[in-house]
Symmetry: C2
Subunit: 204 residues, 2 copies
DNA sequence: GCCGTTATAGCACGGGCGGGCTAAATTCGT
DNA sequence: ACGAATTTAGCCCGCCCGTGCTATAACGGC
């Protein structure tokens, strides 16, 4: 009957165009026209896959969240698989490092994360996604701290709720600096600070 | 000769309108029309004091920076005045707390700080101001750490550059959470985390 | 009371925006 | 080969934007 096209693949391709435009010119310039140009499509074509502009933004944000989650999950599994392994410390380190913009790909993701979550402050339709992302990160960090408490490493009397807040703020803050002041922080700096923090948690 | 008006006061009044609009609807909605409405003026009147929209934004950002600096400076002076005072620790705490959105006024400032610095990522004319603000904060934190090292409190072998990065990231991250997820963090939480961090610095 | 200066207001243009809607091209099942 | 269903493309409207420009109002020195 009709031309057969995988609609989900198309939607993801358009979302990629959103990401490139937002990365380059800011989310405020991710208009249907600019996104369509970036994707090499006509505006009408983009609108065939997304009923409205905000639906496009919502899809893009979900797609971004999904990618981050996939990446983080891939670091959680080794940790669950090696319950008492000797190099548990470095697995934890790598898991948390997954949330830092240590290479170009993660840097781009961090830029987009900041753009979407700040936009969500005044765009009600994006709020649920932003909240989910934040909650997910915080719960993961809390689990890591509790896990490290059970499996040695971190002291028994660790104030887990406060330390969760502290570690989440630290990771967010490092990402923020890397996004907004990229010349003033290097991946090495971020590694150094992360290791410093984990060491201080163990030795407290 | 003409109607006498303090032009600087007017400019500040318009900047205030920018702040209110940006706080409520986001910086992307701080158009000349919206700002003029908020200030109770006509667009032409606003343009009498600002040659262009970006000049208005630039002025507003300088005004914001100035206010933060005034507030911080007022906390630095007591610290310099009491070189070896006994409650130096609490003075340091209060100084750093000045950078956290602990009350409504500072919360609004933090919202605006985030809006302007993120906007600066893709608006070259705002970059210098954003860089200044970041540099000023980092230098201040570094001085605090070095000062605490000389005057007891912090250990001699403190890795000051790394600890500066860590503390700046922590403060930024707490402010970010407070701005984007205000329901998930209270002023008490921020106090607790700040004190926890300073204690861990002293006891390392 | 008049004049010159400044403040205030507003119109108009060109451009980008989201979105309602229609028309054309494409392609698979028959 | 034909036709139905889907994809692609594009026009057009009303809205908001920054800005160039002009007209009116307000007021202090003479």
């Amino acid at each position: 009957m009709p031309k057969i096209v995988d609609p989900e693949a198309r939607r993801r391709a358009v979302a990629d165009a959103v990401f490139r435009v937002a990365r380059r010119d800011g989310l405020e310039n991710a208009s249907l026209r600019n996104v369509a140009d970036e994707a090499g499509l006509a505006v009408g074509s983009v609108r065939h896959y997304f009923a409205s502009h905000s639906e496009l933004m919502l899809f893009a944000m979900r797609e971004l969240t999904r990618r981050v989650e996939v990446r983080v999950r891939s670091r959680v599994e080794p940790l669950l698989a090696a319950p008492g392994g000797p190099d548990r410390a470095s697995l934890v380190e790598e898991l948390l490092a997954e949330l830092l913009p240590l290479d170009a790909a993660r840097h781009d993701e961090a830029v987009l994360w900041l753009a979407f979550t700040t936009a969500a402050r005044v765009r009600p339709e994006l709020r649920p996604r932003a909240d989910e992302l934040h909650t997910g990160m915080r719960e993961m960090v809390e689990q890591v701290l509790r896990g490290g408490q059970r499996q040695g490493g971190f002291p028994e009397d660790l104030d887990v709720p406060a330390e969760t807040l502290r570690l989440v703020a630290l990771l967010d803050g490092l990402a923020l600096t890397a996004v907004l002041q990229p010349d003033r922080i290097t991946p090495d700096d971020m590694w150094r600070v992360l290791r410093l923090h984990l060491r201080s948690l163990r030795g407290a």
